[in-house]
Structure formats: C-alpha cells, structure tokens
C-alpha cells in the first residue's frame, strides 16, 4: 500500500520549546491512524502541523503525492488549500449559523450555492442522524449533537484526510461508546482516511488500524493495536497500555533450552520467559512486563504447587473483576481476575504467568 499521507522528520515547537521532535510516520488511503499518548506528548501539535494551523521548524508533509510542507524548499501550503477536514475537541460549531450552514460551510467558501450543496449536506446530516435539526441555530444543540454536526461538517465536502483532535473527550462515557461505533460505521461506509488524536487507550484500540504512541515529542512505537498490545517495546508503552507489572530482572540462560530464559526478579521470584534476547551464556539485565489479567492465582495448598508464593496484601472488588495485590518478597504484583471469595487479604497464594505472556522491554 502506498502512503497517502507522509510525515517525515517533523520537528515543531514554540520558541525554545520543542513539542515535536523528528516524527516520521505514514498513513495509507482509507486507514485510520491514531496518535496516542499522555498530554504534552506532542500529538496535538503534530496534528495541527498536518492541518496547517502550525508551522513546523523542519520536516516534510506530503498528501496524495502533493508536497504541502517542506522546510528545505520553503513550501508551506495554507490550511484552506490542503483539502483537509477537522473535528476539534471543542467542536468549533459556529453559533451564529444554522446547522445546515455549518455543515455546508465548505461549499459556501468555495462559491458553491446552497441549492447545489444541499444533497451533500443532507446526506451528511442523515449519516449522523441529525436531519431533523438542519434548520436550527447551531447554538441550540446539546454537546453530543454538536459533535455530530462537527462530524457531518467534516464529511460533507469531500476531503483528503479527516483530522480529529480528541473529539470525544467532552462526552460522557456512554455517549463516547456510542460515538465510537458511529465513527467506525461511517468510516466503513465512506472509506475516508483519518488521523485521530487521543490519550484514551481504549478509544485508540477501538477505532484504529494503526497506533502511533508518542511521548515527549517523539514516537515510542507504532503498529497495529494487537501488535502494540502484545509486544510493547518500551516500559512506557507497556505501562501506558495497562501492563502494570513491570520489573527489573536478571536474565539467565537455561541450559538445554534455547527457547526460554529465566528472569530473576528477586532471589525467590523467578519466571520463565520466551527468549528473544540472549545468545550468550552470561546473565543479562533486563525489564520484564506482564499484564495483571495474565496472572494466575492459586490458593496455597491447592495442587499442583507451581508458581511463586506470595501473600495477598490488598483486594478490590469491582464487580466483573477483582484486583488483587500480592507480595512476594520485595516484589508486589497486581492480578486481575474474576472475584473469588477465598482470596482475601493476608491469604497465602501462589501466582504464575505463562512464558509467552511475559515481555522483555527495552528501557
């Protein structure tokens, strides 16, 4: 697949502050790519430079084969000529115009009359199920409705790439789930290319074809959701995606077994991990991570006796799941699982993780 949107070595900032540093990624046509990361990681800045609302210091942006920004060549196409569409965090619905005029704005500024624009506008409105409010002033809408108008506006006039800057963060949890579904449906129907910015990992997973995880202005890792989920490369990505159990360990080769290594988290805490690292015979310091959901807990005494012994220090009942904290020597791990009445605070347990569920992380 050839890249539809290419971002190359983008560096951007305000004054001495560098918000985005040497960021490179590509989006194929029809793909939904999410820039994911904590606040201040540079994801919004990156999006805004693609939009043309901010000017990067160096780098190159190409959309559909056309260079819209190139610092070396001195080329910088203004936002209105880039052929993009954007949904803002605050929706940016113009209160002094009707819903119809908001959605049809792209046509109006290109000199296309209302009559000609009507079919496209009405179609967009029906796609977001807002046909009924077309004539109303935009200021009379609820938050959720405004967001849909923003979406309708973005899809009404055909654009190359749809940019979305945390569009769901002002909605309540239930609306958010609904909107995610609608957005997915829309994309399946219309097949647009999207670059999405969010800090919500669940949202990113639900919507994206690929995720670009950012931190401190740089890209930590990019890949498909399952890829990133199963094989985070760094502690940051792992932690950000919910891998709560991350520990320093020493890796020791297992004689006779090249497929596995031993990870010694503490004198009495040893796990077996898939080998992707060590070739030599000597030990190797590393970081090990595994998800709470992958931890198996057994009460001490139940057969078979495998796993690491530990004491339950805390247990939190959360309905469908329970969170358990188990201490083994200097290490405290977190385990998620269905609530079990016998696992209470102070109980002695044994815990274990499948080797292919443990990940060796780079720093």
């Amino acid at each position: 697949m050839s890249a539809f949107l290419e971002v190359e070595h983008l560096t951007a900032g305000y004054g001495p502050l560098v918000a985005v540093e040497d960021v490179t990624f590509a989006v194929s046509q029809g793909e939904h790519v999410t820039l994911l990361g904590p606040s201040g990681c540079g994801k919004t800045t990156t999006l805004r430079t693609i939009a043309g609302l901010e000017t990067p210091k160096s780098g190159r942006i190409v959309i559909d084969g056309k260079v819209i920004f190139d610092a070396d060549e001195g080329r910088n196409v203004p936002p209105e000529k880039r052929g993009l569409a954007m949904v803002f965090q605050s929706y940016a619905i113009w209160p002094h115009m009707s819903v119809f005029d908001n959605v049809g704005f792209g046509f109006r500024v290109r000199g296309i009359g209302r009559r000609q624009a009507r079919p496209a506008v009405e179609r967009a409105l029906s796609l977001v199920t807002l046909s009924a409010v077309a004539g109303r002033p935009a200021s009379a809408l609820s938050g959720g409705q405004q967001q849909r108008v923003a979406l309708a506006r973005a899809i009404a006039y055909e654009s190359k790439v749809l940019l979305l800057d945390e569009p769901m963060s002002n909605l309540d949890a239930q609306l958010r789930t609904e909107m995610r579904e609608e957005l997915n449906d829309l994309r399946r129907q219309l097949g647009f290319t999207a670059v999405y910015v969010t800090h919500d990992q669940e949202e990113a997973f639900a919507l994206s074809d690929r995720i670009v995880v950012m931190r401190g202005g740089r890209i930590e890792q990019q890949g498909a959701p399952s890829e990133i989920y199963c094989a985070p490369k760094t502690s940051f990505v792992a932690a950000f995606l919910g891998m709560k159990n991350i520990f320093d360990a020493e890796l020791y080769p297992i004689s006779g077994d090249r497929k596995m290594v031993e990870a010694r988290l503490a004198p009495d805490v040893v796990l077996r991990v898939l080998n992707s690292w060590i070739t030599a015979a000597a030990s190797h310091p590393a970081r090990i991570g595994f998800r709470p959901i992958d931890v198996r807990l057994e009460t001490a005494g139940a057969a078979p006796a495998e796993g690491t012994p530990g004491i339950v220090t805390r247990s939190l009942f959360l309905g469908d799941v329970a969170h358990y904290y188990v201490r083994s020597g200097p290490i405290e791990i977190c385990a998620h699982g269905r609530p079990r009445s016998e696992i209470v605070e102070g109980r002695a347990v044994r815990w274990s993780v499948d080797p292919d569920r443990c990940v060796v992380l780079r720093e």
Binding site: L53, P78, P79, E80, M86, A92, W94, F105, R108, V109
Partner: protein
C-alpha cells in the same frame, strides 16, 4: 442553623443582615439614579406657571440643533467604532509589529480629558491662526488646510477620544473567542479574509454594537468638544444648549430639562432596542476563559497596519500633548521661531498666582478619592447581592445599577441639581458633595460590572470552604473575598479616580467657586482666553493623572511578584 434553600451559605443572622444590606442598597441606588431622572422629567414638562408643553415645543423646534446632535453622535460613533474595531483586530489578532506597546498606547486617550484634546486641536486646526494652517501657509503655500471648527471637526476630535472604548471591548471579545472557530473555518476551505468576514466579524457583533451604543450615548450628551469647537461657529448640540440655557439670563431651566429628557428618550430607546436585538441571538463565545489568541501572519501588509495605529496615536495623544506642553512653555503663542522663547513662567503663574489652582487641585483630588472609594464600596456591595444571594431585590438592583449607562452625564447632573437645590434637609447643594453624588451616580455601572466580574470569577466554593471551616460572614468577606477580589478593586479604584479627575460635563453645572475642580478651572481659563495658563494647568492635570496611573502600575507589578 442552616437555611436549606439558600444552600447553607448563610445562617439566620446573616440572612437578616443580607436583607438589610439589600434593602439599604436599593434605597441608596434608587435615590442616586432614579430621583435625578424623575426631577428632569418633571422640570421638562412644567414651567413657572405649572404643567406646560412649552419647554418641549421650544426644544423640538430647534431642529437644527437636534440634527447637529444626532449627526455628530452618529458620525462619532461610526468613526470611533470603525477605527477602534479595526485597531482591535490589528493589535489583538494580527502579527502587527510592536503590537504590545501599541495596545497600551492606543488606550491612553482614556486618561486624557476630551476637553484638553479639543482645545489642543483647536489651536492646531482653527482656520486662520491654527498652527497646522500657519505651517501650511508658510511652508507649503497652501491656505486653509484644516478647519476643525465644523461638525466634521467635532466628530473627528470626539472620535479620537472615544476610540479606546470599542478598542477595549472588541479586543476582549477577540481574546475571549475560541480560536478553533476560526481554525475550523480555515481547514474547511476559508481563506484568512473569508474566515474574518464570515466567522470573526459576526461573532464580534455584540461587542461592536455594545461599544457603539456606549459611545453614542456619551456623545449625545457631549459638552466639552462641541463647546470648544462648535460654539465659536455657532454650531450647537444638546450638551452645549443645556449649558447655554442655564448660563443665560434669565436661565431657561425648563428648556434645559426638556433637552435632557429628549436625550434620555433617544438613548433609552436605543438601549432597549439593543437588548432586544441581542437577546435573541446569544452567542456563547465569550466564556470566562482567556484563550491564547491565534495570531494571523500576514506578511508585509502588517507594517501598514502598525502605521495606522501610530497615526491614531499621533492624532489622539502625541500631537495634543505636544501642543499643550509647547503652549505651556512658550512665552506667547507665535509660530515665528525667532520670537519663540521658553521658560516656566506660565507654570509659575498657575501655581503661584492664579487663585483657583490649589483649590481646584485639592477639590479634584478629594473628589477623586471619595468617588473611587464610595463607588467601589457601592459596587462591591451591590454586586455581591446580585451575584451571591437569591434576594428578591437582585433583579431590581441589577437593572437600576445599569441605568446610568443610558443617561448622558450632563442630564444626570441636571437632575442632581434640581433634586438637591430644594432639599434643605440634605444641604449638599453648592458643596463638594453634590459633585460626589453626580460622579458616583454616573460611574455606578462601571463599579457594579467590575464587582460582578470579580465575584463571578471568584469561585463560590472558595467562600463556602471558609464558612464550613468556621468563618462568619464578615470574616469570610474580610479574609477570603476581599483579598481575592482586591486586584480588580484596585484597578477599578484607579480607573474611577482618573475618570473623576477629568470629569467636566457634570462639574460645569454643579460647581461653585468654592468647589471648582481642575476641568472647570481649565475651561474657565479657556473662556478667559488665557491660552498659556490654560495649557500649563492642563499639563498639571495630566501630570497628576499619569502619576496616579504609574503608581498603580507599579503597585500591580509588586503584588504580582
């Protein structure tokens, strides 16, 4: 004991205090605001014999004056709004060079009384002897370059003085606007210009209209500029007619009142129309948030924009000030460089010989302090009742305190004059306190608005936290509310002090020789044709203003650090 429906914020004792305060404030405000208007209305429809339509008939017959008044008010409003709004755009939203400095300079005319600007411009632009015309004759060989003693001249000088109002209001609106509204327009295909025209401008309409209305109301009752530039040419407006009616013998008191009522009618109508118009479309773009405004980058045209700003500053601040200082220092008015010599004789005269100087300074300063303090106290009290309580008098207080916005200050002064000239039970007629009454009444809207703004941005939870921890209502006010609203209070105090220092429209009607103030002293000197002394006194008046301003800025810097 808690009162459920008041949200547990006030105990029983506090509720009665609150009721008392609300009632007291309502009485005070009614007395201050409504009684003068009633007095004007009554005087306008009576004559010494009884009820009469004669005063009104006389006034309505003066069609030329009415036409002048309206023309000048409309012209000034248009001019000031366009220039002010444009400057707001240039300096708040476009990458004009030195825009921070320019933004400060552009608001300077607020601190210079229009009387001095008018006088300075009359020296510059009077048809034969004006400095600009002399320059034109001698250097350029062109005669009659500029004649400001015309309606156009009055509009020009008045607009110069009023530009800061729309500038400030529109700048605030621009800064309070969510920049993503413009950004989404740009993304969806609008050019910079289209975005300004289709998005920014319509959203600025409330601010533009609001400031235009304020300017219109004030210029309808304007006195100083038409007195200096209009009277010599026989051009009269309502303000100068009122002045003339009262200063002729025998004084035409009822006619003055009729003029006042006419002005009041027109301005009230407009204010009502504006509220009706804007209420239907409420643009919630002005949140309490201050956004980081998105600055438009527009290439080399921005230098032209800076030039426009500098032109305004030159015309409104630099030229008049320079002329005043020159006239104060030059021995006598001449444009012959050989004859020009400079010294401080006029300052010596004004400070050591002219009998009115110290009295005027003393009165002005006392009045300034009193007006600012009383105004702030009234404003804070009233706005507290309006914002923080659910008193039934809330709405009334809100309306009454905004009333003076629709009343030209000269009309207010007329009313105050009549209310108190016969009120022997409150002998403030002829004293400095009647001026205080007029000033405070005129500035109540500013005080209440500032107070409301400060209280609204002070989260009520901060006060509640104090109450829950055990503070009484008064302790809460003293330790929480007052310190946190102090910055706004101090700004408002300073603004009121400066405004009252330049006030002339009310003062000219209410002063006596014992209670003369600086503006009146300046006007007297102008009428006496004592040009140089007038310039010296004007410079002194401005010096006091700027000292206070500097003091305030310094103080503000200190409390920030």
């Amino acid at each position: 004991m808690c009162f459920e429906k008041l949200g547990c914020r006030l105990s029983a004792a506090d509720v009665s205090t609150e009721r008392l305060v609300a009632l007291g404030l309502s009485v005070v405000l009614t007395l201050l605001v409504i009684s003068p208007l009633v007095a004007v209305t009554i005087a306008a429809v009576t004559d010494p014999a009884g009820l009469s339509a004669q005063p009104f008939i006389a006034v309505l017959g003066a069609t030329r004056t009415i036409a002048n008044t309206v023309t000048i008010a409309v012209g000034t409003t248009l001019f000031a709004s366009i220039v002010g709004g444009a400057l707001a755009l240039f300096l708040a939203r476009i990458n004009t060079p030195s825009r921070a400095l320019l933004s400060q300079l552009v608001t300077l005319p607020l601190y210079i009384t229009p009387l001095l600007t008018a006088i300075a411009w009359s020296w510059l632009g009077s048809p034969r002897g004006g400095l600009i015309n002399i320059f034109g004759r001698q250097v350029l060989g062109v005669d009659g370059l500029l004649n400001l003693q015309t309606s156009g001249g009055i509009i020009f000088v008045s607009a110069l003085a009023y530009v800061p109002l729309p500038f400030l209001l529109v700048s605030a609106a621009l800064r309070g606007m969510d920049p993503s509204l413009e950004e989404s327009a740009r993304i969806h295909g609008a050019t910079t210009f289209q975005s300004l025209r289709l998005i920014t401008l319509p959203l600025m309409l409330p601010a533009i209209l609001g400031s235009a209305l304020l300017v219109f109301v004030q210029t309808m009752g304007l006195f100083s500029v038409p007195a200096v530039l209009g009277m010599p040419s026989g051009i009269y407006v309502a303000g100068t007619e009122i002045y003339r009616s009262l200063n002729n013998f025998p004084p035409r008191v009822n006619q003055a009142a009729a003029w006042g009522l006419l002005l009041l009618g027109i301005t009230s109508l407009l204010v009502w129309m504006q509220t009706a118009l804007l209420n239907r479309r409420s643009f919630v773009t002005i949140t309490g948030k201050a956004y980081r405004p998105r600055i438009l980058e527009i290439g080399s045209t921005r230098y032209a924009l800076a030039v426009v700003a500098w032109l305004y500053i030159t015309a409104a601040v630099i030229l008049p000030l320079a002329t005043l200082v020159w006239a104060a220092l030059v021995n006598f008015i001449t444009v012959d460089f050989k004859l020009m010599s400079f010294d401080f004789r006029h300052f010596r005269y004004v400070l050591l010989e002219y009998p009115k100087t110290y009295l005027a300074m003393e009165n002005s300063i006392i009045l300034g302090i009193a007006t600012a303090t009383v105004g702030c106290a009234l404003g804070l009290g009233t706005s507290w009742i309006i914002v923080r309580t659910r008193s039934r008098l809330r709405l009334y207080l809100d309306q009454v305190s905004m009333f003076p916005l629709a009343v030209p200050s000269m009309v207010l002064a007329l009313g105050v004059l009549w209310v108190y000239v016969r009120a022997t039970w409150l002998p403030i007629y002829g004293t400095i306190w009647i001026l205080l009454v007029a000033y405070v009444t005129h500035y109540i809207p500013i005080c209440v608005r500032a107070g409301s703004g400060a209280l609204r941005s002070l989260h009520v939870e901060l006060e509640d936290a104090a109450r829950i921890t055990g503070a009484s209502w008064t302790k809460m006010l003293r330790w929480i509310t007052y310190p946190l609203t102090r910055p706004t209070l101090i700004s408002t105090w300073t603004l009121l002090f400066i405004l009252s220092l330049q006030e002339i429209s009310s003062s000219i009607l209410l002063y006596t020789s014992r209670t003369t103030v600086l503006s009146v002293a300046v006007f007297d000197l102008w009428e006496a044709g004592n040009v140089n002394a007038l310039a010296a006194l004007g410079v002194i008046q401005l010096a006091i203003t700027f000292l206070v301003l500097l003091g305030f800025l310094q103080f503000r810097r200190e409390i920030r650090v």
